[in-house]
Subunit: 308 residues, 2 copies
Amino acid sequence: MAEDAADVLVAGTVAYDTVETPFEDVQKALGGSATYFASAASLFTTTHVVSVVGGDFEMGELTFLRDRGVDLSGIEVIEDGETFHWSGEYHYDMNTRTTHATDLNVLEGFDPHIPEDARDVDQVFLANVDPELQLEILDQLEGDPFVAADTMNFWIEGKPEALKDVLARVDALLINDEEAREMADTPHLTEAMRRIQGLGPDVVVVKKGEHGCVLANGQDWFSAPAFLHADVNDPTGAGDAFAGGFLGTLAAADEMDDDALRKAAVYGTASASIVIEDFGPAQLENADRSLIEKRAKRLASFAQFPEI
Amino acid sequence: MAEDAADVLVAGTVAYDTVETPFEDVQKALGGSATYFASAASLFTTTHVVSVVGGDFEMGELTFLRDRGVDLSGIEVIEDGETFHWSGEYHYDMNTRTTHATDLNVLEGFDPHIPEDARDVDQVFLANVDPELQLEILDQLEGDPFVAADTMNFWIEGKPEALKDVLARVDALLINDEEAREMADTPHLTEAMRRIQGLGPDVVVVKKGEHGCVLANGQDWFSAPAFLHADVNDPTGAGDAFAGGFLGTLAAADEMDDDALRKAAVYGTASASIVIEDFGPAQLENADRSLIEKRAKRLASFAQFPEI
């Protein structure tokens, strides 16, 4: 972990996931956006987690994060509640999935609180939760952090006004391609990204699964491939691991310029490539910085243009 | 056109297409794989076309190719037949399409003949036609050209044995991602490409529309983004224009090494980005080498990695 890197905070879910893929089924395994984010970000810098779990949650499952210095004091435990549970199925090409169940449980009525000493962090990730919760988190921040948010079609359709308020207040939106098209109401992806920039964030990162990502930073555009040889066994958490590597890398940057953002996208991609190789965050549990560096270098070689 | 570039030959269709997109409908416009290929390849080198049309075909539609020195003497005209007609519809994201009609017409019973003086070309593209026709073309070639082929799900399912024979005899397969997965019977794209290499071609290029392309050359891998700002109005012909730019670029290469193949993929991408901006090959009719060069340079900037 870089000595001089700023701290990162994530507000999102710690969950139990039930996942079916063409290869295997897993019942109630550790998941959640904050878990995946922290699993990646903690390889880069000190990470603070704001979330909520039920009395059924085994805190021991997060020991690997605590061992890396992750601050878990922002995880509220509601003893008589049940942990958020997502259940879904990935299809043949692993790029599309069907959600079978979203049991909000303790997430309903969640009133997030950032611990006092984590309110002035420099990098914040508002993972995919109700935009009204994202606004509550924004209200608790001190200083002028770089804030990135994620969202999904459920909120784009269900809470467009609150989401608009979030977009007006964040620096970056990290979103998948289908959602970007839906949010901006156009099939042209780059046009969609331009329109989203018009709603607030200068930086828009569209995550396209095995097709890599596209980054818009003001007028600058960058396209990075996915890690070609990842052995995809469970894409769950790829987007959040991407965000963890992305913000973790930015935390060590001197300036938020194009170069720093491109580098963040590359390390985000490297982080995502690791998590999808197994169910849950297991692969990121076992990963270290040298693996991330190796993948980033391989990505650079995949994308190496000839002299034009 | 490069003075020292070798000649290129394409065997494929010259067609009338009826296309619906979310933006516009066009009836019986000039199309066909050989048309699109030649529209791009002729910006790079001398191109020979082997195809067949009916008595209804207006040869004047190909004047722009003749003006660029394209050899059209390999296009057979069957006076009492009708030209091949494809009709289809592109959906909202422009990455998926539905075929409404494929009227083979003169393509049924087509007996392709390569003109004598075009049999010893150095680069050959077997566009997406019946693999038995592709084999007939292969049998007429002299010397040891670099041969690339395209195919589609219809032949993968309908003529797997003839297709296997084609694959055993070509240097490169250019195919889209869905077809690559189907051909190799795996959802893992890079695994699919490895398996296809095992069937014959050292070079496999998977075209992914707006997601760019992936090139495998033996053990080497390259991923290039699509041209981000293309104003997509009709994706028809993008794959054939890609092939035209790809082989047209290879025709000028001193060696078939990784660098030459990466460069070919970039110029193929640039060619495809131009044709999709209008219906039919119109945009490639108006294009010149300087536009292609400009796009290739923009692609390089989209893909420019930071120092890792």
